[in-house]
């Protein structure tokens, strides 16, 4: 997701971002203020672990909506924390910015690769197989399937 969308009718809104990311949430925060709904902002500083955020998220009650805006590389850590606590897809929006790195799952050795250029084929960093990148995405692995480029 590249843009935060205001979801009306929630009892509370929690925003989590760094200095840069907060700009991406600005419009939604304004709308929440206009509606007079309770909200909380959690600022993440660089390389911070998720312990403190986890404590905050655990305290939330059902009906809370969570917005997270962070560099793509940081987003996954927070997503994992929130999911473990019980936030579902319907209750969250993750907005990434900056360089997007895709994870590629090797169809032969099941190794995980990362690439910024999704057009080109890659060589699996573990088994050396040349992989074409499909648009088949696995939520479980958070990765796209890489399949045999040349038979």
């Amino acid at each position: 997701m590249t843009e935060a969308v205001f979801v009306p009718g929630k009892r509370k809104y929690v925003f989590c971002s760094d200095q840069e990311g907060i700009k991406l949430l600005f419009n939604v925060i304004e709308q929440v203020k206009e509606e007079g709904r309770p909200y909380e902002i959690f600022k993440i500083v660089e390389n911070q672990d998720c312990l403190e955020l986890g404590e905050l998220l655990k305290k939330q009650k059902m009906g809370t909506h969570l917005y997270v805006a962070l560099p793509y590389a940081e987003l996954e850590k927070v997503r994992k924390t929130a999911e473990e606590i019980g936030f579902t897809e319907e209750e969250t929006q993750y907005i990434g910015y900056g360089n997007k790195v895709k994870r590629i799952f090797c169809c032969r050795c099941h190794g995980m690769n990362e690439t910024a250029d999704v057009q080109a084929d890659i060589l699996c960093s573990q088994c050396g197989l040349e992989l074409s990148i499909s648009d088949h995405y696995s939520v479980f692995h958070n990765a796209f399937l890489g399949f045999v480029a040349k038979l």
């Binding site: 929630k10 939330q60 009650k61 059902m62 809370t64 606590i85 019980g86 579902t88 319907e90 209750e91």
Partner: protein
């Protein structure tokens, strides 16, 4: 003669739970093990008594115990024969057919915490669900409303097995389940409602107002929502046959009475088995199976609960 595969069973034991509720233990006629089931599952029971009485009951026993099934039947004030037969005619040793267990009310695998809201006999599906969660070591709690302590089914059982996980509300003591408890559930909670229609719809509405996502709200209706004023209507089949559906009859019953082999299973508008194509006429949908879009397309009907707004419905059968 039955539309689905059935299992022959006999009544092994009958216990009076309270003034209105009896528990029946069923075992396979051949003393074979019964199929395993999951928490929240139910069976259809088939009783031959002049007409064929088909009724659905939640399985209240331990899902891992496949030697027996147990159901709890409340004598309905408006019994159309089912619960009355169970209460007045059924004896230990009697045989009947049951369906394989089906589950329209399963536990969420994603939930971090489960909260059950029961009113009256609505407790029944939660018994197997709590059993399953208890053996998994998962966290849950029960809010259970009943008229009185005496009418409260499984009162002793719950106190003995889940001493710290229930709260009773007795209306004779002016205690009521209040939707404010929905405000207190931590993130990751799934709620399950079972009881009379108004109980379910009030709680569901309160949950949505707080911002609960639809996937975290689960409901089980024993009876489908029905129009206050049921109107008779006619249906026409492809070969021109005309079937009259009386005021107090479902479309499915009318079709079966005519000897038409219409498919069906749950009979409460949940499973979708009885779906038929509609060529002409305006459908009044009362099921909880079709999506809003599907309902609006006016092209198919669940015959077990839905009716016609127009005087005539033309079916593609």
């Amino acid at each position: 003669m039955y539309k689905e595969k059935t299992i022959p069973v006999y009544v092994k034991a009958i216990e009076q739970e309270n003034e209105f509720i009896r528990r029946f233990t069923l075992a396979s006629v051949n003393e074979e093990l019964l199929p395993k089931f999951s928490g929240g599952a139910h069976i259809s029971t088939y009783i031959e008594h002049g007409e064929l009485l088909v009724r659905q009951y939640s399985l209240t026993s331990n899902p891992d115990d496949t030697k027996h099934y147990q159901i709890a039947v409340r004598l309905s004030d408006t019994s159309r024969g089912g619960s009355r037969y169970w209460h007045e005619k059924m004896k230990v040793g009697d045989q009947l057919q049951i369906s394989y267990p089906k589950n329209h009310f399963p536990l969420s695998f994603k939930a971090k915490h489960h909260v059950f809201y029961a009113a009256g006999i609505g407790i029944t599906p939660f018994l197997s669900m709590m059993n399953e969660l208890h053996s998994r070591g998962s966290s849950f709690e029960l809010y259970y409303a009943s008229k009185t302590e005496e009418a409260c089914a499984f009162y002793d059982f719950l106190q003995e097995h889940y001493p710290n996980q229930y709260r009773f509300y007795f209306s004779n003591k002016r205690e009521r389940i209040n939707s404010s408890s929905l405000e207190e559930h931590p993130i990751g909670t799934h709620v399950y409602f079972c009881g009379p229609e108004s109980f379910i719809s009030d709680l569901t509405e309160s949950a949505y107002q707080l911002g609960y996502p639809p996937s975290a709200v689960h409901t089980e209706r024993f009876t489908p929502p029905q129009p206050k004023d049921m109107q008779p209507f006619n249906v026409q089949l492809k070969d021109g046959t005309l079937v009259e559906v009386a005021r107090d009859q479902t479309l499915l019953e009318a079709l079966l009475n005519k000897g038409i082999k219409a498919p069906y299973s749950c009979r409460v508008g949940r499973c979708g088995t009885c779906e038929l194509q509609v060529v002409e006429g305006e459908i009044a949908h009362y099921d909880s199976f079709f999506s809003e879009d599907q309902k609006q397309s006016q092209s198919r009907i669940l015959t077990c609960v839905s009716r016609s707004k127009s005087a005539m419905l033309v079916l593609d059968v």
